[in-house]
Symmetry: C2
Subunit: 336 residues, 2 copies
């Protein structure tokens, strides 16, 4: 098995370029006119508003070698960035990727990361236009994505209004359940396990949904990466409003409920890494989007006056206890 | 002294934002309309061609704590990217920065990195619009810069023609000499030492020079990061031409010659990390740029037919021995 230190940096880059070329699909609308091989990649002029985001995954902090394949890791490193682009109501144009690699890592495993990049780009759009490969004792992947809004309407966090309804795409909690399934054995069938682990390792960014929400007049959205309560609190703080969620309006995935009959609500409200969209808008627009099935979504609560916090109310009108603590990697434990 | 692990990730980010705000200068032509605080930064539409580049610096691979201040490190992390933007004949629009940090690093030292970012942005343009902070056992800084060409003329590596003259900005070799001065004591005066170390730790990207070269009709350029011979070989390979350099035409910095009377030519031809521009063009244009002192430059040789290699010829017409080996961090030694 060939290690990175067995070949030159130049040859490693050539091999990774070959992976990109082998998986390239025709992209007639591409704005990219010079890619890898010069001091910088060249992008054609566009009259669209652009957005930029960057996210990094570090081994043993954001992922573990034992619980993800390198193809999944490549997919997810781009997916978490695409989710931010989706949350702005935009589409990805191009990405640059940096790998921090140990000399003893296998060349083939690095090619697999690039295969993962290609899979998600072929599925969700965009292009890999360049990057950097550096030696590091800690393995990491850093991705920066530039996206655009053709309509010019971007979705922000600071525009929620009292009276808005709150919507989410898809289901919440499966990714957190998948992490549990990876960490310890679960007494569930293979199909359930596969579904939960897939939600964790290969999330699908909600790019089409973000663009459609912007097209239908929605102004407020973010992606759910730190759990529903935690991320909705961020919208509340940015918009100076409160939020109330109805626990029985939360769509619960059947596999999640099967695998975690006692904890599914906890995972759905504060699990994290869901990469679904959380959005708010006036009732007429929100109900029209739902009724016309423009996207797969659920209405789960409403924006209210008051302090910038989130309450979760059960079917009897009682407030459920909530925790807003996101994960703080520098402390290695929950804030509260 | 406050460590990162003593405060929350949220508070660390707030403190770094404060550094950016405290140093911000008014930028009336800014394209950035939403920065830190949403899922992505928002950039206004522009009708200019864009370029993108990314470069990462890893502790004990690209820098050592003992030989650089954190302010210098912040400056250099941006400078090496700006140098790529300069080499395309472009100007920087915005940057995103990712820091991989150990929990035991001092908050104030991270603020100093941001002070370095601000210093170079205030001097050379552009804006910091976002980034990511992650926990990593290995300290690293990853920067992505997007630039633009207002004229639409970008400088490439693959356009050198037989008969072109070869030019360089500034002097070469001082950065490599500065690295030596940092690694072992040099029997030279403080002024010399300061000059050489400054060339290594706080290089000035040649942004104005790149834009002027493009404006005057130059088509071919790159920045010198791996040494003149190594980088000129890359232009030769991309353009399928050879190159001949006259050793006595190379401008030699007086401090470099003083500090390294035996090795100055070696440092000037294969030292690395110069971040000067290397460019080629038709004799009439090149001579006009030099004679009119459009930029500070020297003519050092010419593009010739033949294999894609670089020869260095002394005043008597003899070929000097050359080494094309760039630094391969995965091997920790020169290729040859």
């Amino acid at each position: 098995m060939l290690k990175i230190s067995d070949i030159s940096e130049f040859h490693l880059i050539k091999r990774l370029e070959s992976v990109l070329l082998a998986h390239a699909v025709s992209n007639p609308g591409s704005l990219v006119n010079t890619s890898i091989g010069d001091d910088a990649a060249v992008i054609s002029a566009t009259d669209a508003i652009q957005v930029v985001t960057t996210d990094t995954m570090v081994e043993n902090v954001h992922f573990r070698n034992e619980t993800t394949t390198m193809i999944e890791l490549g997919w997810k490193a781009i997916a978490v960035n695409y989710s931010d682009i989706a949350a702005m109501g935009c589409e990805p144009i191009y990405s640059v990727v940096t790998l921090g690699l140990r000399p003893d890592q296998l060349v083939e495993s690095i090619e697999d990361i690039y295969r993962g990049f290609c899979e998600i780009v072929n599925r969700h759009g965009g292009e890999i236009v360049g990057g950097d490969i550096v030696r590091s004792d800690t393995f990491f992947i850093s991705v920066t994505v530039v996206g655009q809004s053709k309509s010019g309407d971007v979705l922000k966090r600071n525009s929620a209004k009292v009276g808005d309804l709150i919507g989410i795409t898809g289901h919440l909690g499966c990714s957190r359940a998948g992490l549990s399934a990876l960490q310890k054995s679960l007494a569930v069938d293979e199909e359930t396990k596969k579904h939960l682990i897939g939600s964790h390792n290969m999330p699908n960014p909600k790019l089409n949904e973000g663009v459609k929400l912007a097209d239908y007049g929605i102004k407020t959205a973010m992606d759910i990466s730190d759990g529903l309560i935690n991320d909705l609190t961020k919208i509340c703080e940015a918009s100076s409003v409160g939020a109330s969620i109805k626990s029985d309006a939360l769509p619960i995935d059947k596999y999640l409920k099967l695998a975690f009959p006692e904890r599914y609500l906890e995972f759905a409200t504060s699990g994290g890494e869901d990469y679904e969209l959380l959005f708010t808008g006036p009732p007429d627009i929100m109900e029209a989007i739902k009724d016309q099935a423009i996207i797969n979504m659920q209405l789960v609560g409403s924006i209210i006056e008051g302090p910038s916090k989130v309450s979760i109310v059960d079917s009897k009108g009682n407030d459920l206890p909530t925790s807003t603590g996101g994960w703080d990697h520098f402390k290695e434990n929950r804030d509260n």
